[in-house]
Subunit: 106 residues, 2 copies
DNA sequence: TAGTATACCTAGATGTCCTATGTATGTCAA
DNA sequence: TTGACATACATAGGACATCTAGGTATACTA
């Protein structure tokens, strides 16, 4: 309906990965924490999104094993991913401002 | 993924109807105008939404014929609709604030 | 040793919105 | 006067994002 609504999940994931690499489960926890429990993403949502981002080369993945023997897949955002993130952020600002204007009864 | 994302189209429509009654085609034009061309809603999106809102008693409709002979369906928001709108607005604020926090790298 | 947390994964359903199309009338220019 | 475009309504079918529900496996804790 809008010119283009920012696909929120992938945008949020890219934003989280901007600072440092993270593994899937951690992304879910961080989103929950930083959003003060507004975003409670399901694993069934996140993992397919991560695979998509990897396929599109917006993130890279590396496998690592903890001292306790757990295997994790760490994701890091690529240059391309950062550019896409910037684009999505702009779209979000536009979208958000427009909604606010309508709600305010401009 | 979020606690609940506000269904944007119905929220925006209710918000537009808050001030005065409007007919479908006019809603599309007003959305475009007030959002500065960010929201270019399609008729195929709006009309089913209006029918749904009517069915849920969030709006009422009345038919009117212009002096030129055109038939229009004017929609007005109900008390129930106003309550739902308020709810959706709160959800939007919560959602929007959370996204901003994540993007800011909180 | 049973339950919970961690950590990954996929298939299929759902819901929102879009594309495409249809009907009918009004207006304006060629 | 006719052909193009705007107005005004409508629906069917598809695309896409996210959710539900399930699965596997290991580690910790009561």
């Amino acid at each position: 309906m809008a010119k283009k609504e920012p696909a929120s999940v992938s945008m949020l994931v890219l934003a989280l990965l901007k600072g440092r690499e993270m593994y899937g489960y951690q992304i879910i926890e961080e989103l929950d924490r930083r959003s003060e429990h507004v975003f409670q993403m399901k694993e069934g949502t996140l993992y397919p999104v991560l695979h998509g981002l990897e396929k599109d080369r917006l993130v890279t993945a590396r496998e690592a094993v903890t001292d306790k023997g757990r295997t994790r897949r760490y994701y890091a955002v690529t240059e391309k991913g950062l550019r896409v993130l910037e684009e999505k952020e702009k779209e979000w600002q536009t979208f958000s401002r427009a909604v606010t204007a309508i709600l305010a009864g401009a």
